[in-house]
């Protein structure tokens, strides 16, 4: 068969950015809070990219004579180190600024890996059915039955610490969630007319899955993924809290909170500020993604 499928695509409700997408975006833009939070998220991304220019100090520069120096407005604090210093005399503000890189990078990387794997697996399971579906669904069942954190801790123990390994340890189970969403959506979509039509014309399974079904089920996937990203950032912090985070001297918010908790009684600032940073970013992502969901998911449109 040599004919291209291009002309055929006009026959079905096409993924058209000019109508549905823009209408949804407009709905989103009308949600002022969500929009504001999306800006906050972008601000964090901006900060993480330009950290070297924004941070007032080298985040890894230790000076034991500044050990546990309080924030500027407290006795003993200086404006050079606005949020104070940690146990090794490193500037907390600079470490928070650099720490955003770890949180955002891990959050984005895990979601990217997990969504890709999960979408492909979900498409295959939902479209091909049969033994592919059975195998994938079984694996999903098994992984879901594992407590998330214990699974991640076990994997980290097995692979050792490191940025790449954290991403793997978190993505290992995370893909299950987009997989389930995609499988369900695919099951609903595969019987629709345009899919049937493509099949009747002899399009390959691969073509149908990737070119026909995928574009139509993408928006719930994107919505789920953004919400999960907030979750992954908290999980990374939890892993760091348990001592299984990134390698020193890289600053990570979770590790900063964890290391600082020993000093919480006398030097509260060490773990409080990075905690606030996690809260702000995760909150912003959650509000923004909820706005996205309200705008894009027809079930929430009123």
């Amino acid at each position: 068969m040599t004919t291209s499928f291009k002309p055929l695509r006009t026959g079905r409700p096409k993924f058209d950015p000019n109508s549905i997408f823009w209408r949804n975006m407009q709905t989103f833009a009308n949600n002022r809070l969500a929009l504001f939070c999306a800006f906050v998220v972008l601000l964090f991304v901006f900060i993480s990219i330009f950290a070297p220019w924004i941070a007032p100090h080298d985040p890894n520069e230790t000076d034991l004579f500044r050990r546990l120096q309080p924030p500027a407005w407290k006795d003993g604090g200086t404006w050079a180190h606005v949020l104070g210093c940690d146990a090794l005399g490193r500037d907390i503000l600079s470490r928070i600024i650099y720490g955003s890189r770890v949180s955002i990078f891990i959050g984005a990387a895990v979601i990217l890996v997990a969504t890709t794997i999960g979408t492909l697996a979900g498409l295959a399971a939902g479209y091909l059915r049969g033994w592919v579906d059975t195998v994938i669904s079984r694996v999903v069942d098994i992984l879901l039955a594992f407590p998330y954190l214990i699974f991640a801790i076990g994997l980290m123990a097995m692979m050792g610490p490191g940025l790449g390994n954290i991403i793997l340890a978190l993505a290992y189970k995370e893909w299950v969630i987009p997989c389930r969403v995609v499988r369900g959506e695919t099951l609903a979509t595969r019987e629709q007319e345009y899919v049937e039509a493509a099949r009747a014309l002899g399009a390959s399974d691969r073509h149908i899955m990737l070119k026909e079904i995928l574009p139509n089920i993408l928006s719930p996937v994107v919505v789920v993924s953004t919400i999960r990203m907030a979750h992954v950032i908290i999980l990374e912090a939890s892993l760091s809290f348990l001592g299984l985070g990134v390698q020193p001297p890289t600053a990570s918010w979770g590790a900063m909170v964890a290391d600082g908790r020993a000093f919480i009684l006398e030097s509260w600032w060490v773990s409080t500020f990075p905690g606030v940073a996690i809260l702000l970013l995760v909150l912003a992502i959650n509000v923004a993604s909820q706005g996205l969901r309200d705008a894009f998911d027809p079930r929430f449109q009123q």
Partner: protein
């Protein structure tokens, strides 16, 4: 005084004393970890030992200055290099009221060192702590002879780590029952063990009084003792400050001031027995060069770190042994902090531009390792810190002769007996268990072997002094410091002081 007034006064007094005695008699310890088991022969864990040791007594014991005293034994003596006699004290009863006999002591030791003695073909995991013990012989009603397969001067130093059990009781409840049921001869008897939460003990009123050499020889002072498990150090400190507990272990140095400034609490310290050091991989091309090892030693400002990170609660060392250890060489050369000299040494060794290395460390000591790394980096030894789990690091570094990878390893070795044999041999003898540096010096091996068998105390000390001097010149490790053990203690506690072997002996502790 009318009857009525009298009655009120009496009842008020009764109430007051009742209230006072109720609260005054319960001593609570904020402890970092629960016991694994209550069976003295079935664990390899220091904290478990600390808890159990208040319920069970040993043949020998130590006072808080680390002197060895006879406890359940009345006296002991060395008969020959491989034979020791123990005279067992008469009139000691176990918590169930039965009398402790020489048979029980024999049974205790055999249960520990004999292969398969725990039942089900299992051997006690503590067997190795009794070294070359071969057999135990009953000489008469109260005398016991221990036979060793080779001379082992360490026996008296190691016996305080073992506790005497009742033969009849073990035979009745079995090894599985011993895990949670207790019939000891110690100052406290078990009331209840809430797993993961607390171990509750009560004064044993028929206690024989404990070691004759450690007064007062009488029953315990407090009525009840509770080991409360509080793993988080901040929570432990909070519990002490709020009066929930009266003694806390492992008080972090940065909380010392807070505990000290609180009018109701104070800080007690004791020299610990754990030596910290940086192992350099002597088998690698880089660190097989003495000059490079010396450079590392000169690049580290021990005093700064002891002062700033350990808040002064540590003693720096120039050799592996703690200053309190037997046979310590007090005239070792010191590697002064001198980054310029370190750079010069590196240049002499052929690295004018410095070197790049990785330092392995366990998560708990990450801060210290990072501080050391920045000092090293300043002296041209650009160091990256790599945090790993302890389980992984020991496998990587303690290769016992196998191939070794890695550059530097921030590590430590405990020495609860303060005898050089327990720390010097594993860390410095060629291919021994804890020789993470891969140090190999035939002369040191020779001396360590001689020290293990030498019975003359003076000659033995001289042997270790020589070995330490050789090791200090070879610098296979950078010897760092021995931290103090820090405890937070309520002002209401008296009669208790911390002990270097990290035991918390509550026999004489009182609560006012």
């Amino acid at each position: 005084m009318t009857m009525f007034k009298k009655a009120i006064a009496t009842s008020a007094m009764l109430l007051m004393t009742a209230g006072a005695s109720l609260s005054a008699q319960e001593l609570r310890i904020g402890f970092s970890r629960d016991a694994d088991t209550l069976d003295p022969a079935n664990h390899r864990n220091r904290e478990t030992q600390t808890i159990i040791r208040n319920i069970y007594d040993g043949i020998l014991t130590r006072d808080s200055s680390m002197n060895i005293h006879a406890e359940i034994a009345e006296s002991y003596r060395q008969v020959s290099p491989t034979e020791y006699d123990f005279v067992i004290r008469q009139g000691i009863t176990f918590h169930d009221g039965s009398e402790l006999t020489v048979e029980d002591v024999k049974f205790t030791l055999e249960r520990l060192f004999k292969e398969g003695a725990m039942g089900n073909g299992q051997t006690s995991p503590r067997a190795s702590l009794l070294g070359p013990m071969e057999s135990v012989e009953i000489l008469d009603d109260n005398t016991l002879r221990v036979h060793l397969s080779e001379p082992w001067p360490l026996l008296p130093a190691m016996l305080p780590f073992q506790e005497v059990v009742s033969k009849a009781f073990v035979e009745r409840v079995g090894t599985s029952g011993m895990a949670s049921q207790v019939n000891g001869a110690g100052p406290f008897k078990l009331v209840r063990w809430n797993r993961g939460e607390s171990v509750i003990m009560e004064r044993f009123d028929d206690y024989y009084g404990g070691a004759a050499g450690i007064p007062p020889v009488e029953t315990a002072c407090v009525e009840r003792v509770i080991f409360q498990v509080i793993p988080e150090s901040a929570s432990r400190v909070a519990a002490l400050l709020s009066g929930d507990v009266h003694i806390i272990s492992e008080l972090p140095t940065f909380s010392v001031n807070q505990v000290r400034n609180n009018p109701n609490t104070d800080v007690m310290t004791v020299n610990g027995t754990r030596s910290f050091f940086i192992a350099m991989n002597n088998e690698s091309d880089l660190f097989s060069d003495l000059k490079v090892r010396q450079a590392v030693a000169h690049a580290i400002n021990k005093d700064l770190i002891v002062d700033r990170i350990l808040d002064g609660y540590a003693t720096s060392i120039d050799g592996i042994l703690s200053p309190d250890a037997f046979g310590k060489n007090h005239d070792l050369p010191t590697y002064d902090y001198d980054p310029a000299k370190a750079r010069a040494l590196l240049a002499e060794a052929g690295y004018p531009d410095g070197i790049e290395v990785t330092m392995d460390v366990e998560g708990a000591f990450r801060d210290t390792a990072e501080a050391i790394a920045s000092l090293l980096t300043n002296a041209g030894i650009r160091t990256r810190v790599a945090v790993s789990e302890g389980a992984i690091l020991t496998q990587k570094w303690r290769t016992q002769g196998g191939e070794k990878s890695g550059d530097l390893y921030f590590s430590s070795w405990g020495n609860g007996s303060l005898d050089p044999h327990d720390i010097f041999v594993p860390t410095h003898r060629t291919n021994d268990r804890g020789n993470s540096a891969g140090y190999a010096n035939p002369r040191v091996d020779e001396l360590l072997d001689a020290g293990a068998a030498e019975l003359d105390v003076e000659r033995r000390a001289a042997i270790y002094r020589e070995a330490e001097a050789i090791a200090a010149a070879d610098v296979p490790y950078v010897y760092l410091w021995v931290p103090q053990d820090i405890y937070g203690v309520s002002n209401r506690v008296s009669g208790w002081s911390p002990s270097p072997d990290s035991r918390i002996n509550l026999h004489n502790a009182c609560l006012n």
